[in-house]
């Protein structure tokens, strides 16, 4: 592989991370729930590809396993569960949000800046594989968190949570060359169970309030 020099390799990892961030912004700007799920699945595919690239560049083989698990669980299984939930609940789009789309985009831009300023002192330490991926990973975590706050529908809040998890995974792959495999397995299991629980919780929400708007939960009183 003479074509894939370390320089080009780290550029490709940066490019993959930037694609993930780009998809985050698309999720923030997207109102249709099914499109949000599709974008999350796409993000997971790119995440798996970036992780596989990191595995190839560093020669650490267990990252391949983590990348494969990402592809199966986050790009296929979880989106399928979420699509079923959306289909059963019969909600297609989110019309009212806590923060509207243009303001949300501006806030996310601010969050990215924040992430960059925070990670700036770490970059000169020199143990990172690439220049941008740690900053981008932190930005993705923050944007996922923001999505959970800004959206009212339970399904998009789940997507925010999953995007956060993607950010954590990218950070682990780019900065620490992946977590130990046993930790990765635990995290994947948690995420899967989390998605299932939130799926059931959304059904209960729908049964109780005829809506998946989590704002209604404040009316729960003894």
């Amino acid at each position: 592989m003479s074509l894939l020099t370390p320089h080009v390799g780290s550029q490709l990892v940066d490019l993959g991370s930037a694609v993930l961030l780009l998809i985050c912004f698309a999720i923030v700007a997207q109102r249709r729930l099914s499109a949000c799920v599709d974008l999350f699945a796409l993000q997971s595919v790119f995440l798996a590809a970036t992780a596989a690239l990191v595995a190839f560049l560093t020669g650490i083989h267990h990252i391949y396993a983590a990348a494969l698990l990402t592809l199966i669980i986050k790009a296929i299984v979880i989106p399928r569960i979420l699509r079923k939930v959306i289909e059963r609940l019969n909600v297609t789009r989110e019309l009212v949000m806590n923060v509207n789309v243009p303001a949300g985009l501006l806030i996310c831009g601010g969050l990215v800046m924040l992430a960059f300023f925070i990670t700036q002192p770490i970059i000169p330490l020199g143990f990172l594989l690439t220049r941008d991926s740690l900053a981008i990973a932190l930005a993705i975590v923050l944007i996922g968190f923001f999505t959970m706050i800004a959206r009212k529908k339970a399904v998009t809040q789940v997507i925010g949570f999953l995007v956060m998890e993607n950010g954590v995974f990218l950070g682990a792959a780019a900065a620490a060359y992946g977590m130990p495999l046993i930790v990765e397995l635990g995290v994947f299991f948690d995420v899967l169970v989390g998605a299932l629980i939130i799926g059931i919780y959304t059904h209960r929400l729908q049964d109780a309030f005829d809506s998946v708007d989590t704002g209604r939960l404040t009316t729960l009183k003894e």
């Binding site: 020099t5 080009v8 550029q11 490019l15 930037a18 789309v101 831009g109």
Partner: protein
């Protein structure tokens, strides 16, 4: 051959390529859309026939219009062509490099848009005014996004001259100078290109439905050779945007010297690149529905934020 003559020949060649290829790109996008809808569609060369027919027809001009109405098609066509001459097409060193940089390019487009808006108002019809007001909204939202995305690229290469940017990137090893800012800028510029040239998520070039049209509404009063010029300029603008995207973000294969073989290869690769982008636009237009006018701000806001991020990437991480 003297240096001067060679420069003049290159400029003439660039004018001919831009003028000759732009109707083909329009036809190609229509063909792709037709095939994706399982129609046979008109030949990709149909726009040439349309233009030829329009040039032969006698134009009808309303008696209520002023000189702005008749001057606008020429201004729009000339400003778009001038903008096209500032962009490297098949060779990275263009003779008119000294004449202007990317800021000049943006405002040459803005000049054409401005006069088209005036012409839409000039005839005094309700549709023209509606189209003009919508175009003004879209133009005012795309301009900052376009400037920002181009600045992000200019920062990573250290020059605002397009020829220098493309030349530097083409001679580089690795993928591009700096992948993350470039990707953000590319996404922003692609959105801007869709909005500025009136493609689907923002405007629909295939319809004359009064509720949705923007560009068509402004050009509604035009006929004959005036219409031909406005349509040709629209195709030219689309081609210049595609050229900009192709050569800034993927300058591979562009001629970096003046050898005839390099120029020939550069031209062939250029045609492949813009055709590929045209197919992509046709696919995007088939996959997405047109946005409601009030959602266009979300879409263009996204472009602005991405372009801004491209610049911030550069300042924070490399500054």
């Amino acid at each position: 051959m003297t240096l001067m003559m060679r420069a003049v020949l290159l400029v003439i060649a660039q004018i001919i390529v831009l003028l000759a290829v732009s109707p083909f790109i329009v036809g190609l996008i229509r063909k792709v859309k037709a095939r994706l809808q399982l129609r046979r569609g008109a030949s990709v060369f149909q726009p040439y026939a349309d233009l030829a027919k329009l040039f032969r027809k006698q134009p009808v001009v309303s008696t209520t219009t002023t000189w702005i109405f008749t001057a606008t098609p020429y201004i729009v066509f000339a400003s778009t062509l001038a903008a096209g001459l500032l962009v490297p097409v098949f060779t990275s060193t263009i003779p008119l490099n000294f004449a202007g940089n990317i800021i000049a390019l943006v405002y040459l487009f803005a000049l054409g848009t401005f006069f088209l808006i005036l012409a839409g108002l000039d005839a005094g019809s309700a549709f023209g005014g509606m189209g003009s007001s919508r175009e003004a909204i879209v133009a005012s939202l795309t301009e900052p996004a376009m400037i920002m995305s181009i600045f992000a690229i200019a920062l990573t290469t250290g020059s605002t001259n397009l020829s220098t940017i493309v030349h530097k990137t083409a001679l580089l090893e690795g993928i591009v100078t700096d992948p993350s800012p470039h990707l953000m800028a590319l996404a922003a510029l692609f959105i801007v290109a869709l909005a500025e040239t009136g493609r689907v998520p923002v405007d629909n070039p295939a319809t004359h439905l009064e509720l949705t049209m923007i560009h068509e509404a402004m050009a509604l009063e035009y006929s004959g050779r005036y219409l031909a010029l406005v349509e040709w300029a629209a195709g030219l603008k689309l081609l210049v945007f595609l050229t900009l995207i192709a050569n800034i973000f993927a300058p591979w294969g562009i001629a970096t010297n003046m050898e005839p073989t390099a120029l020939g290869i550069g031209l062939a690769i250029y045609l492949m690149k813009v055709s590929g982008l045209a197919v992509l636009i046709g696919a995007v237009e088939s996959m997405f529905a047109k946005l409601r006018l009030f959602r266009v701000t979300d879409f263009l806001g996204l472009a602005f934020i991405l372009a801004l991020l491209g610049m911030i990437f550069f300042y924070v991480l490399r500054g």
